[in-house]
Symmetry: C2
DNA sequence: CTGAAAGCGCTAACAT
DNA sequence: ATGTTAGCGCTTTCAG
């Protein structure tokens, strides 16, 4: 059987309480007693029981992380930032994935509440009445990572989706492009809407009429980038640049273009979004929007912990800085 | 304040125990009572306290996962398999990363024991006396994922590192290669040794003398693949193929070759290891060894749960099947 | 500075 | 089928 505090108490002759205090570095314990008890605890192979402690003091030092798909390179890096920062603050992370399933998202929130996590970091769907109610009535601190939820203000950490895509599309227009293929992201996701709206705004600003055949909706998977561009080429849709909801789509697009004998960037230019780590190693390397993924995870933990420590603190949306990165998949005319 | 079982007991007139039973679907409760209690619980917004339950029944339904780096695409996929399978069995996952730091590995094992996880899945370092002792004395079930630990038998799920690299290098030799650059993996990691040994064995089988300048040691990062090949080219080292510890190194190598005007596979062929999801989208697409990453995570959970359920079960190493995948980065002469 | 007692919320064992 | 009692291992009062 494992060594317990009462065993140490018995072995040292102190009360169980004094043992508890000594092991926790509580002030009002003489240095000699503390060292004596700690030495004995080590010798006996004592391992603190966090569960029992949590139960008593009603905090678990665990945060629940509800991601979309932790093997997606975007979220993998965000989650890494979360884990790293949480660790620095003495917290651990329970991690689950929703695959964009609203029901699963809801179940996990409840599960984590039942597991008494101290706070929740969620990559949420955009619109879901039931989930909205859940969040509104949620009794523990929570932040949304990289996304907004319709009907809930202040809980999101964002990354200038609208502004960045507006900048990208405006840049491409300034470079002479008029027929721009846009590979859009999954529905029911605030980023998709925000990025698409940025693109549409750029067209509007330039007085370019929208050709609906130039917008292709996808779920953001790399294969869809490949298939969508294949399809567009087969249908004879003309375009001089492809700008994408994310880098994965852009990578799929690159493959299709290559297989169809289109040279990038000479014949067609390609712009991504996210700046995945691997994007710089594509051939050609991918022009994209750098989203601070690791920093997003770090900031999310910081923000969450602020609310865990001060439950009365008001929530405010944060919008992290992005920047455009021009690489080999675009002709960069020095604008 | 949150609703507790005693509140439901009071509200329904049943004892707290009956409430507990009804909510857990315990047999010996009449259907009417159960439904009545459940309805009341829902109405009162009751959320089960898993911590308190765990404490009582001494199991947490949580497994601890100690990865190397969950944002590395290899481990990201393994971890995804773990999460998915754990969920199917009603378990959650606490996830941390070691960055190959033996001290951190040790600290996390202790941390997870103190958090009373039911079992441990670890991506461990190979040789470390202190960690060896720790695992030998560990009182909870544990499995090593994709790696061996020197001095501990039976706890590993592996993937034919030696056999696969032997096959790859033999294939390349059969294709006429004599000067093969090998980008080796990090030290203190069983995979690195196993894969390198496979390569060396192939050379030996073919009676090819080892040229030490053709073995370059790395930590397996993509940038090192790039830098190592740059260096080899600058030094005028001759080789007709690069075979790599992992796909990331191979990707870095592809970039260097491209920048140095070497055509792949015409001038130099490249072979990876792992078959990362992204590898098929490289230009050219990467020939590699398919390691069943997701399945590795799944099997690891299955194996761990078997030992959680039957503590007396003997441990046995498992060696998952791999297969060679020939893509555009090698000339495939139909052997 | 140390000890005694109470209790966190739940479940298991036993009794009815 | 339901209730009573005890206790998981720890921390937090409150006393001294």
């Amino acid at each position: 059987m494992n060594t317990l505090m009462k065993d140490i108490a018995q072995a040292t002759g102190f009360s169980i309480n004094t043992v508890s205090r000594a092991l926790r570095d509580d002030r009002k314990i003489s240095k000699r007693t503390r060292e004596l008890i700690r030495a004995k605890a080590d010798a006996m192979g004592y391992i603190h029981n966090a569960i029992a402690a949590n139960m008593r003091c009603l905090q678990s030092k665990v945060i629940g992380v509800i991601s979309k798909d932790s093997s997606n390179p975007f979220f993998a890096e965000v989650v890494r930032g979360i884990e790293e920062r949480a660790r620095e603050h003495g917290y651990n992370m329970l991690l689950v994935n929703t695959e964009e399933d609203a029901q699963r998202e809801r179940d996990y929130v409840r599960l984590f509440v039942s597991r008494h996590v101290d706070g929740l970091l969620v990559v949420p769907g955009y619109q879901c009445q039931e989930n909205l109610q859940l969040y509104k009535s949620l009794s523990i601190p929570f932040c949304f990572v990289g996304r907004r939820v319709q009907g809930i203000e202040g809980h999101s950490l964002l990354h200038q989706d609208y502004e960045s895509q507006l900048e990208v599309s405006s840049y491409l227009i300034a470079n002479g492009h008029r027929r721009m293929l846009y590979l859009a992201g999954p529905e029911n996701l605030s980023n998709s809407a925000d990025r698409l709206n940025g693109h549409l705004k750029a067209l509007e600003n330039a007085g370019i009429a929208l050709d609906p055949s130039l917008i292709i909706h996808t779920r953001g998977h790399i294969e869809e980038g490949y298939a969508s561009v294949n399809l567009a080429l087969n249908r004879g849709i003309r375009f001089s640049v492809i700008t994408c909801f994310n880098d994965l789509l852009a990578m799929g697009a690159l493959k299709s273009l290559s297989e169809n004998g289109c040279q990038v960037p000479k014949d067609v230019e390609v712009f991504g979004f996210d700046n995945l780590y691997i994007s710089q190693f594509m051939q050609p390397s991918l022009s994209t929007v750098d989203v601070p993924k690791f920093a997003l995870g770090v900031s999310a933990v910081d923000e969450l912990l602020r609310h865990i420590e001060r439950r009365d603190l008001e929530y405010k949306d944060l919008n992290l800085e992005t920047r455009l990165i021009y690489r080999g998949s675009t002709l960069n005319r020095g604008l």
